[in-house]
């Protein structure tokens, strides 16, 4: 039964209200105006007054436009046909391909029973030493890239998308600059990864409400593929835009803001998305790699702050490099014991030495005397930054470990590294 209402009582921002009967919370409706049709979803019921958020925005909607309730919540089509396709935040094709309507699944479904989760145990190789060696990405992990705007985070994401050993990549773009959208498209096409990628893209010029839908729609599809045994990597860029659109709607709805205008449920809203990362027992997995731009490089801003409490670590992107300090992968311990026997020791040893290098650098800049040891550290630090931290370096984990040993051997004697003797015997480069 589809009811049509022709009197819209109020229009404020992207939210309209209409007096209607028998409407269910979160149901979809179609708003038809002379500018075209748009979907809308019910976000509040108060007696007969139904508030809806209009996906295409409130602009141009007239009080005399018609609202038709569909009687079901937001859904997305799920099938193999999604592969290689590009959609917008409400699931409409962006690529001139046919609209998909078969096998519709609801979005924003229930959360996974913690008793059914299993411990993460598989590494995802990316070819980036700062990730593979020092903060390994693990299947079913949820990890954001904390970045200042202007850093090449989207380049990094597209590189990871191309190199990561997963079955399927879903890219959820929120408030993406059109250039960045093209960058993803081109680099994936060039890399031949397009056929195993699905795009859900909201660009900066699209309506705000669609931005809010991108994570849900991407993750609902990812979850279904994972249940079918696929290993899915979901890239979400940029979650700060998502949070900002939550803020916009909350304020339109006269909600009391909690911190810098963000709604009080920001933590829960972010968590319910990130927690979709999961390893299903006996099926596939969902891994989430997000981007959170930090306004003003401020990690205490509500969005990165709440994100940090939710995710299992973070990558700090600064000056075009992943910073070893502040970056953390909480799950790396679960996998780096099985890669190569020198992985953990080398990782810790090199970071400690790099920390010592930073101290030496500080001493130098303060004009204090430099000892022999300090000069060695300075040389080490430079090599470390060139051969490990530079994002242009693209080598598999084993090569990266070997390269680590070479750097150590170039700068230090074995006993200066604080590494156990048996590993030194096994891996210290021999002089020919």
């Amino acid at each position: 039964m589809q009811k049509v209402y022709t009197k819209i009582d109020s229009i404020a921002g992207n939210v309209i209200t209409v007096a209607a009967d028998g409407v269910k919370n979160q149901d979809l409706a179609v708003v038809s105006s002379k500018h075209g049709e748009s979907l809308a979803s019910v976000i509040k019921l108060d007696g007969k007054v139904v508030s809806l958020q209009v996906f295409a925005g409130g602009r141009g909607v007239s009080t005399g436009d018609t609202v038709r309730f569909l009687g079901y919540p937001m859904q997305v089509s799920f099938s193999e046909n999604l592969m290689g396709r590009i959609f917008d935040g409400s699931g409409k094709p962006r690529d001139n391909g046919p609209a998909l309507t078969d096998n519709m699944i609801p979005i924003g479904g229930p959360s996974v029973n913690p008793a059914k989760r299993i411990l993460a145990s598989k590494m995802i190789r990316t070819g980036i030493p700062m990730i593979d060696v020092f903060n390994t990405l693990v299947e079913s992990q949820k990890l954001p890239i904390f970045s200042v705007s202007g850093e090449p985070y989207n380049e990094m994401l597209s590189r990871i998308a191309m190199q990561a050993e997963v079955d399927l990549i879903i890219l959820g773009g929120m408030g993406l600059k059109f250039d960045d959208y093209l960058l993803f498209k081109e680099s994936l096409e060039k890399g031949g990864a397009m056929s195993r990628t699905i795009f859900f893209v909201h660009t900066a010029s699209d309506p705000t409400v669609e931005c809010m839908l991108v994570p849900d729609i991407s993750l609902a599809v990812a979850e279904q593929f994972a249940l079918q045994g696929k290993r899915v990597l979901v890239l979400l860029t940029d979650m700060t835009n998502f949070a900002d659109s939550l803020k916009e709607i909350a304020i339109t709805m006269d909600q009391v803001p909690s911190n810098r205008g963000y709604p009080g449920d920001l933590y829960s809203s972010l968590a319910s998305r990130y927690e979709k990362a999961v390893d299903f027992e006996g099926a596939g997995s969902v891994t989430i790699l997000g981007v959170t731009t930090m306004p003003g490089d401020d990690v205490t801003h509500p969005v990165p702050d709440n994100t940090g409490y939710i995710t299992e670590g973070q990558y700090y992107l600064k000056n075009g490099r992943i910073e070893p300090f502040g970056s953390l992968s909480r799950l790396k311990q679960l996998v780096n014991k099985d890669t190569r026997d020198d992985h953990r020791t080398l990782m810790d040893g090199m970071i400690k030495l790099y920390a010592a290098f930073k101290e030496a650098l500080e001493k130098k800049s303060m004009g204090f005397q430099m000892s022999d040891w300090d000069s060695k550290l300075l040389e080490y630090g430079t090599l470390f930054e060139q051969n490990m931290m530079d994002l242009a370096v693209n080598i598999p984990l084993e090569k990266a470990l070997d390269s680590g040993w070479e750097i150590l051997a170039k700068c230090f004697t074995p006993d200066e590294t604080g590494i156990r003797s048996e590993l030194i015997m096994k891996y210290w480069p021999k002089k020919d």
Binding site: V112, Y267, R330
Partner: protein
């Protein structure tokens, strides 16, 4: 009694407004009927005849005019044998059983019995004609390592009850009547092993509340020695993300010397709960030799699970803790994290359009936090035995800034503050408890003067370090430099503890006392050191020897050999012991 019914008139997020004709009480549980599905919710406000309820599940698909059924009961938990080792959600739904029924996802409207039907060997402890009062025991069943007391339901009104009949020793199902009591109005009450209690009401059926004095050993040196926690006391662990709150909590849950540990994973990552879930059945409790899971209950309402149930989860956890306290047991409740619980209150408060307080937390935040921590305590029970509930809560302050409402409200009511610092965790100094700012009001297991004196070394070392950042190493006197080296060594060998090392991860009190004495002597001694390089080198050596010593099994040959090596090293340059330290050592 006919069931009280109502109809939905409005929905805003997880708040549902309902119109009712009959009487409704605050905190009453109601179900919103959606065909086959029933969504549990709780009454949180009644205003102008409209009842506001928070739904414990998602509200999608609910519409105006839907039927609501009121139960007439407050949100309650089931108490009885079989709670230990269970994994519940915030409303006491057993999660593994739910998984068996529904598969991967938490489907809406699925509620299972908290204590499934099972049989236990019941041993009566009273006979016909005996007089009992609520909370007095009338028998017991074995549960894990101890006897689970079967008590007269706490919810019966205070009265003298005469035992009319009681079953003989034997196997009984937990839902079978095992005793009948007659009250003073000659009304009979059938008792089973299970009864219910409303979660938001503290269980106060004890003789008197005592001052917490006995230390609760956590086997973490920094806590037991410097910031001790008392059985029946409260403590909080605030810290920015990634500082190791959860790891510290997990370690405490493993090592704490208590009878029962209840973990309330409140609005945190599901992955961490999974770690506990997979680990605890494998790990053995050193005190009993049984798997740790047998003394643990997990209440798990992770961040993606509905918010209202998150608010309920800490109450569910503390009610279970109080129940076991009534049996004369020591219970530790770890709530991770209380900030998420406070945020759940904030979300609800916002939907109720209450006037917001600081950072838009509700104005009653402080009193709610205080009354939660006040449910901890040592009590002397009616039968003279002593039981305790210790509460430890982590706080996740926004931006790592302790000046925010939840941290401040918590600090007002707790007895110990273990503040974690980003600086220390960045430097991989674990546990990252900031030793200069944390405090505890409880008495520890070590000599107070020794501890005080040792903290003094930390403070002076920190001063020297600050100064050195300005004037450089060359501008610092040798004496000051030695103090700095001593405090660095103290930090490395005693404050820091390797959580992954089998020996170092849990240190017994005897061992703490022993090595602390040794450390105290080192800190108070003067050594023949002619230059800063010599000082740095020497203390590095001591540090290395001490760290190796920390890795030796207590009481083993390796332990005494390593100690001898350390002593030899110390004797090499020893000159004299300061008179103050000598006096304290006695």
């Amino acid at each position: 009694m006919a069931m009280n019914k109502g109809t939905v008139v409005g929905i805003n997020g997880n708040m549902v407004s309902v119109k009712v004709d009959d009487d409704v009480s605050l905190n009453e549980v109601a179900y919103i009927v959606l065909g086959e599905t029933r969504v549990k919710s709780e009454v949180i406000r009644i205003k102008n005849g409209i009842v506001s309820m928070q739904a414990f599940e998602m509200t999608g698909g609910i519409g105006v005019g839907d039927l609501v059924e009121f139960t007439g009961e407050m949100l309650s938990v089931e108490l009885g044998p079989g709670l230990l080792g269970k994994v519940y959600d915030g409303l006491q739904n057993p999660l593994p059983e739910l998984a068996e029924k529904c598969g991967f996802f938490l489907e809406r409207g699925e509620y299972l019995k908290a204590l499934p039907r099972a049989t236990y060997e019941f041993t009566p402890s009273v006979k016909k004609g005996d007089v009992l009062r609520p909370a007095e025991m009338f028998g017991s069943v074995p549960e894990g390592i101890f006897d689970h007391k079967i008590m007269v339901p706490f919810s019966l009104k205070p009265d003298d009850y005469v035992v009319k009949s009681i079953v003989k020793k034997g196997e009984y199902s937990n839902d079978e009547t095992i005793a009948v009591l007659t009250d003073s109005d000659k009304k009979d009450h059938d008792l089973t092993m299970i009864f219910t209690w409303p979660v938001k009401k503290a269980i106060d059926l004890y003789e008197e509340r005592l001052k917490p004095v006995d230390p609760m050993i956590t086997k973490t040196r920094l806590i037991d020695t410097f910031f001790p926690i008392a059985k029946g006391g409260t403590f909080c662990i605030p810290g920015p993300f990634g500082a190791g709150k959860t790891v510290l909590q997990q370690g405490t849950a493993r090592n704490a010397e208590v009878d029962i540990v209840i973990i309330a994973a409140c609005g945190e990552r599901a992955g961490e709960v999974v770690e506990t879930l997979k680990e605890f059945p494998e790990l053995l409790d050193p005190r009993t030799g049984k798997p740790l899971m047998e003394r643990t209950i997990i209440i798990c309402n992770t961040s993606s699970m509905p918010v209202a149930a998150r608010e309920a989860s800490v109450y569910t956890a503390v009610t279970l803790a109080e129940y076991y306290r009534e049996m004369g047991l020591d219970v530790l409740l770890l709530a991770d994290s209380t900030s998420r619980w406070a945020q759940a209150m904030r979300e609800m408060s916002g939907r109720l359009e209450e006037i917001p307080g600081e950072e838009s937390f509700p104005a009653y935040l402080e009193s709610v936090i205080a009354s939660f921590y006040e449910r901890a305590g040592v009590v002397r029970l009616n039968d003279g035995s002593i039981g305790s509930v210790t509460i430890g809560g982590t706080v996740s302050p926004a931006g790592g800034n302790f000046e925010e409402p939840v941290t401040q409200a918590t600090l007002k009511v707790v007895g110990a503050f273990l503040g974690l610092s980003r600086e220390r965790s960045d430097a991989r100094k674990y546990p990252a408890i900031q030793p200069l700012e944390s405090w505890s009001k409880y008495k520890g297991v070590l000599d107070d003067k020794m501890v005080e004196n040792t903290r003094g070394v930390l403070f002076r070392g920190d001063e020297v370090n600050q100064m050195m950042k300005v004037v450089g190493e060359e501008g610092t006197s040798l004496n000051d430099y030695v103090i700095f080296q001593k405090s660095e060594m103290l930090d490395a060998v005693y404050l820091q503890q390797n959580g992954f090392d089998p020996v170092d991860s849990s240190v017994s009190v005897e061992r703490q006392k022993y090595i602390f004495r040794k450390l105290f002597t080192i800190l108070g001694s003067e050594y023949a050191l002619e230059s800063k390089d010599a000082a740095r080198g020497y203390f590095n050596q001591i540090r290395q020897k001490f760290l190796d010593w920390n890795g030796c099994q207590w009481g083993s040959d390796a332990f005494s050999m390593q100690e001898k090596e350390l002593d030899n090293l110390l004797n090499e340059k020893f000159i004299s012991l300061s008179s103050e330290n000598e006096k304290i050592l006695g």
